[in-house]
Amino acid sequence: MNPFSSGTRLRDMIRAIRACKTAAEERAVVRKECASIRAAISENDQDYSHRNLAKLMFIHMLGYPTHFGQMECLKLIASSGFPEKRIGYLGLMLLLDERQEVLMLVTNSLKQDLNHSNQYIVGLALCALGNICSAEMARDLTPEVERLLQTRDPNIKKKAALCSIRIIRKVPDLAENFMGPASSLLKEKHHGVLIAGVQLCIDLCKASTNALEYLRKNCTEGLVRILRDVSNSPYAPEYDIAGITDPFLHIRVLRLMRMLGQGDADSSEYMNDILAQVATKTESNKNAGNAILYECVETIMGIEATSGLRVLAINILGRFLSNRDNNIRYVALNMLMKAVTVDSQAVQRHRTTILECVKDSDASIRKRALELVFLLVNDTNVKSLTKELIDYLEASDQEFKGDLTAKICSIVEKFSQEKLWYIDQMFKVLSLAGNYVKDDEWHALIVMISNAPDLQGYSVRSLYKAFQTSNEQESLVRVTVWCIGEYGEMLVNNVGVLEMEEPITVTESDAVDVVEVALKCHSSDITTRAMSLVALLKLSSRFPPTSERIREIVMHHKGNVELELQQRSIEFNSIIQRHQNIKSSLVERMPVLDESAYIGKRAGSSQATLSADKSSQPTSSGASSLKLPNGVTKPPASPLVDLLDLSSDDAPVSTSSTTEFLHDLLGGDLISPAPSGGGGTDILMDLLSIGSPSASTDIPVPNTISSKQGNAREPKIAPAPVMDLLDGLPSRNENPVYPSIMAFESSTLKITFSFTKQPGNPQVTVIQATFTNLSSSAYTDFIFQAAVPKFIQLQLDPASSSTLPAGGSGTITQMLTVTNSQHGQKALAMRVRMAYKVNNQEKLEQGQIDNFPPGL
């Protein structure tokens, strides 16, 4: 026995490895074998190199590194025997890939073998070349391959043809060398050669337009003849598959025809008849037949076919769609997606079948079908399609629900013509799959509702009903809670009932119940709870009798772990308890959200959370829609932003970012609170002050400046100080340092100013202005404006109300803050202007105030 033999035969090694129970055992066996193989290689052992390489290949397939065997492959290839070459080439193809430089060393051996007298060795070389050659090797060996294309042996010929395909792919410049030989291959009889030749032509067409035209001119006729012959050929046992002679050849030829006929009417016409024949004659009960039909339909769609042919193709696809075989249906859906661009009408006819496929049990088919349905939606069929999809939404399984929901929402949005329909569909989707609805989508819904005042009553009632059954759907809960908060009184008073609605009676307490459930439910997350708290606040204003109960519910969260909820709970409690006078104006109806701006900003806005509800819009009768800045939002870190968000950092927040967000969500030209020239724009001011000292503002002020209840609320983190601040407010002017003055008096109006100064800030004076109506008619839309000299800065807080009852029976108060930069040198002075409506007439009064106490 050869002393260098590795002992085990291939079979034994395999058996040994398979017998290993653990990975460690296997590693040990492999290591041992590798060691002996390595020894054999270094000793240049010839006898067992064949077996060693086979072993190495097996080890490689297990996943172990085997680079030391690469040179061995080269040696084996270079040896003279057929078995060695055979295993050597196999090893080459398995252990190396084209990117390794070792491959270059094989070029010489390959060249010799390509010229070998033994045709099987030539075959080996061609095979290896065709599978892994690199671009340089391709270039070097092209002459050999070209020569071999002309040989008589069909085995070599077909291998050479396939090898040329690889050459062309690696070096497209060489494509034109093969044009002539390729077209002559098509005249062969041997099927293997024909298939290889057709494939070579296909790749030539892809690589070079010259080749494409050459082949189109010279080969179209021949191709049609080949297809006709094989299609009409009698039973040929050698090539028969499922009753069809050589389906592979059919398919290749069809594919080449597609490339030649594309964009060329003449060749397309020439192919017409044979395509029709294949399309109608081919049996479609076996996969082979269907494969041919599939390729045929692709070709018909790809060339300039007659309409008759196209109809034929779509019908075949329609038949495919109803086939029970999943593969066929998948393939049909794929094709239909391409066909939609070509002939949408025809595809529409199969809409029902496609809809059926959306409900299929196979995930790949469902996905394809859904995409196809999406492409098919148009204005006429959108309603029925949506209905079908929503019906299916109920039954679909979890992974699919997300996709389906997203698609339904985008269809509904894109194609909705009536708001009522859109709202209805969205409600259904929310009820069925609210948890999958993305934030964008339910926000859009809310924007839509706020823009549809006649549907608001309907919306809130529908949501109420839906909530009773589907309150586990998070988004549904959120939208419901928001709507109940906003439109609660419509719910209870059955406002705006539409014709087809069933009447329901909802008491105030029922409405509060809903929000309470939402708040307390375990599955509600923070956003939902925060929204619920806000809604409760609104309801406490809209339904005064429930106020106490609501307060208790809200107080329940006083100690909540979540900061946001805790904060809101305490603040709202305070509002409910102590500040009834401002409560109603705080939570009045939100202004209409600007749809177009919202939709436009949707893509960019990362915080697509609702803006604060905190708008109070004094809705004096018949007032034009006043746009107000809503709650200022935190800088875009927290997702919980905004509903009633008042947290201010100690440093003043820059107006621009916050108001930009406000603009985003409320659209249009909101009143950006006038930043007092230069000085820190206190968040408080942003929120509440809409005074417009004409000197300092450059931000567009709309025609009506509404005034908002000003409570300088500076929420702090700890609850107690908040209380204090809120408590402290009304009594702000308890200890006036300076005497109050009668700032302005006319026959119809009286204004008094009272002053406070903060101890550390001598330049700043806080003025409380009190307005009294001296006439016998009430004033509405009362607006106070003031102007100051340049050395003074003025900030106006919103007034307590804009209605001044007659005869002094009530007053309006408004806080002003003036900063005198020349304190001590110049006294305060102010020009004032009051605008209001009395008896539906506009009136204006103005004056100058010079009687400020000195030292301010």
Binding site: L10, R11, I14, R18, D47, A54, M57, F58, M61, G63, P65, G81, F82, P83, R86, L90, L94, D97, E98, R99, Y120, L126, C127, G130, N131, K158, K159, L162, C163, I165, R169, H191, G192, I195, A196, Q199, E238, Y239, I241, D246, P247, F248, I251, R255, N287, A288, A291, Y294, E295, N326, N327, I328, R329, Y330, V331, S361, D362, A363, S364, I365
Partner: protein, 161 residues
């Protein structure tokens, strides 16, 4: 074109791989792992096509082996199913009722057969008879060569004893 062919056992063991596009060793392992996860978990009633990274992988299960071929997105999937079946039938004829064990112990022969069916990721020979004939011819070449070699080594062995 066909980018690669992989034969997987039900447990995810690789029985045969053939790569017609450049994939480094690392990439190959990664691909195999991904596709194993994707294909082995599919139920029996589902269609035989999976979309993967912009390609399509056509697979079919024969007994305990999954035959997978990765093709371009615009290739004819149904044809690939036929090619897979063609390959399996030839293997069956060659080994006589082929089973997974045959492919494990004679993997090199399986490769030789595959090389007669596909080159450069394209289909080569539609006639099972031709393929069988070519393989048989090459096998007999190998046998004759080995007989000669063993008889020579016998003589040498005897001479050097």
């Amino acid at each position: 074109m066909i980018h690669f062919v992989i034969l997987l056992s039900r447990q995810g063991k690789v029985r045969l791989t053939k790569w017609y596009s450049p994939y480094s060793q690392k990439e190959r392992t990664k691909v195999i792992r991904e596709l194993s996860g994707l294909i082995l978990t599919r139920g029996p009633k589902l269609c035989n096509f999976v979309e993967w990274k912009g390609y399509k992988v056509v697979y079919r299960r024969y007994a305990s082996l999954y035959f997978c071929m990765c093709i371009d997105a615009d290739d004819n999937e149904l044809e690939i199913l036929e090619i897979i079946h063609h390959f399996v039938e030839i293997l069956d004829r060659y080994f006589g009722s082929v089973c997974e064990l045959d492919l494990i112990f004679n993997f090199h022969k399986a490769y030789y057969i595959l090389d007669e069916i596909l080159i450069a990721g394209e289909f080569q020979e539609p006639s099972k008879k031709t393929v069988a004939r070519l393989i048989a011819a090459q096998d007999s070449l190998v046998e004759t060569a080995q007989e000669q070699a063993s008889s020579i080594s016998n003589m040498i062995g005897q001479a050097t004893k």
